[in-house]
Symmetry: C2
Subunit: 413 residues, 2 copies
């Protein structure tokens, strides 16, 4: 089956899926759950093949860890299904509704987007996560995973389709592009009129390629050069906790902090204990000239302000005040998540209104930008663009709306 | 000033504009209004030049009409400003807000999109309409109008900027790309990181070019192959009124009907009076084979089902039932506006849920899909894509949101 044919099947399936009740969709998700449990060992076997091949081709261990499945991780996938089953179906919600003076009733009603193309990299659990979130919100998916996880992905998709067999969701609601060539991704990005949306999930080069080449609308996700500004009045003890949490709890994620900005009046007090604490956690620190007057860290260059390390590295800069912090963030932020730590109301207010990122925090860790943490029950990624959805993309963000207008043979005057 | 420099100015202006209060924005709009009034004759003079040049180059009269301004049309533009001033500013609205069990408060707050590129064709009033809607919703604009209206557009922009001089909205919030070459449009479409959104307004070839070439997110507007299905149970007298209204009231608009589908059981009754009525209005009709059994019209071909005539031409097809009507629409619709005329509840319900267009009508004219008719006070176009906004794009649709999270030094567990 070629790409076009597969995409068309996904498109057609979306028309049936669009009007399915929440109950029927949940029954189908539970049937997928059973099928995954039934096929657990087949999936693990396929994953072993992928891991073995990855090892042989010399892929580094941190990537192999992302690729690897085990019984515990599969249990996590099953639990994810339970969570999504329990979430409210956003489809059908009347967002707003009004009646004109002449009696014409206009309603804005939430509906699924349609057929969604998802292009992702090594983690095979994305195959399930993305599918489950899409189906629950009434969308069908055309999946294209990374070649590293090919065998795992194929086996997961087989289990999903097997689960859909006895359900009301058409099997074609989930199709996988088996062609592992780079060219096929380019072709997917031109399927206007068939795919309604493309979501790339992966590293910045994948996302850049998709944004630059897609004629289908794209939901850009992921790149996070996040900042924390520690204002003069912040509680220093608690500020240390937040910076530590935002940098070290999971440094490879897009919501981890990359640059900390420190008010000059507290630099002398906070920098030594901060450096001591992060050193113990294995963090490499790079500071501006002023930072290096107080602590012994590597010098930071222009490149550091621009970099999303995704690693145990932190850039540090001493700033004059909240305005300089805001200007630095405006210049280097990727619009993901930024935080101010302060006890000063006016500075908090200024920071909130001036910073135009998807999530703006007062006295909290940037690591909280997450569908689960926000109560969405899961996420399809974190949008860093401004159109359609910003921040965590949950079920609601996988829908659009249409206007339903009920008249009594109304014409336009 | 080159394109990049201009775009950067617009971007910077958007940062100031973003936080301006509704009062300051309204004051600036009223100041633009005064300036337009002051400069009315300069604008009309410039427009005369454009009209003369268009005539000389043999442009057809209907297009010249779109290009022409007169005192009445300028009065209409001033009234449009009054309307927008009186609309509620959507910026700052808390869309939803919740508190986690641990006390972390998460709010989704409406904010402007930022810097918007608008690429449009001959009508010079778009220069003002687009600017006023963008400024009121806190967005700055980089305008690129059609070369036919160059002198008119330049004079309108001059008047706008003159009005902004004594206001709190930075003058650079509105910039016009004076380069009339085709290449410059291509360059605008690649201004990622500077422009947050591109809105094309014009014919289908302009829109296609923008969609296919833009790496900046696009709000696709406009193409409307709209349908009306007259069900067996419809009130035939009123159905005639609606079809007449939807076809002839303003045939050049995207919400005008292009194909009417007729239930076979009423074809004999409705077709003769329909054809008689529309003939009087100068409508050319093209029918399927069955249609031609009842009335003497041109034969319709496959191409007719696909065409947005934007003219006094109507395609007609007799169908077996609501299902055949739905299938025809699914196949040929551009997702703009479709209507069912019926007294049958079940068929109305089926039509509403099966048709996935931006506006779905029961017993009303497709001509009602319009920002003004919907109560938005104006519109930046009608979106036919599924992402971000569908249907009329008003002030609310020119905004996005960000998450504002207030914590008490919360970290991620």
């Amino acid at each position: 089956m070629d790409l076009f044919e597969k995409a068309l099947k996904v498109k057609r399936a979306s028309e049936k899926l669009r009007n399915l009740s929440a109950r029927k969709k949940n029954e189908a998700l539970m049937s997928i759950r059973e099928s995954l449990e039934r096929n657990k060992f087949k999936i693990l076997e396929a994953n072993d093949k992928d891991v073995k091949r990855a090892r042989e081709s010399g892929i580094k261990e941190s990537l192999i860890d992302r690729l690897r499945l085990n019984e515990k991780r599969i249990d996590g996938m099953l639990k994810m299904i339970d969570t999504v089953v329990n979430l409210k179906d956003p489809v059908g919600e009347v967002i707003d509704s009004w009646v004109r003076e002449d009696g014409l009733r206009i309603s804005r009603v939430r509906v699924p987007i349609g057929a969604i193309g998802i292009i992702y990299e090594s983690r095979p659990n994305v195959t399930l996560d993305a599918t489950v979130l899409a189906l629950k919100s009434g969308n069908s998916v055309l999946l294209r995973g990374g070649s590293d996880a090919f065998n795992s992905n194929m086996e997961i998709v087989r289990a999903i389709k097997d689960g859909l067999k006895d359900s009301d969701i058409p099997e074609n609601s989930v199709e996988y592009v088996e062609d592992t060539s780079h060219e096929i991704v380019g072709e997917m990005l031109k399927l206007n009129g068939i795919l309604d949306l493309i979501i790339p999930r992966g590293g910045s080069s994948l996302i850049k390629f998709v944004v630059e080449n897609s004629t289908v609308p794209v939901l850009e996700t992921g790149v996070g050069n996040c900042h924390i500004f520690v204002d003069e009045s912040a509680n220093l003890e608690k500020a240390l906790d937040i910076i530590d949490n935002a940098k070290t709890q999971r440094p490879g994620t897009c919501n981890a902090v990359e640059t900390v900005l420190i008010h000059e009046k507290i630099a002398e007090k906070i920098l030594p204990p901060l450096v001591e604490r992060l050193k113990k956690k294995g963090v490499e620190m790079r500071g501006c000239e002023k930072t290096r007057e107080y602590v012994d860290v590597h010098p930071a260059t222009e490149k550091d302000w621009e970099t999303e390390y995704l690693d145990l590295i932190l850039a540090m800069k001493v700033v004059k005040d909240v305005d300089e912090a805001i200007n630095h963030i405006k210049r280097y932020s990727t619009g993901h998540s930024e935080a101010i730590l302060t006890e000063n109301y006016t500075n908090a207010r200024k920071f909130i209104s001036s910073i135009d990122s998807s999530a703006v925090y007062v006295n909290a860790s940037t690591r909280l930008t997450d569908g689960g943490e926000f109560g969405f029950g899961g996420e399809m990624g974190i949008s860093t663009q401004k159109l359609h959805a910003r921040g965590p993309v949950g079920l609601r963000e996988l829908t659009t709306y249409k206007f339903v207008i009920l008249g009594d043979y109304h014409t336009r005057k």
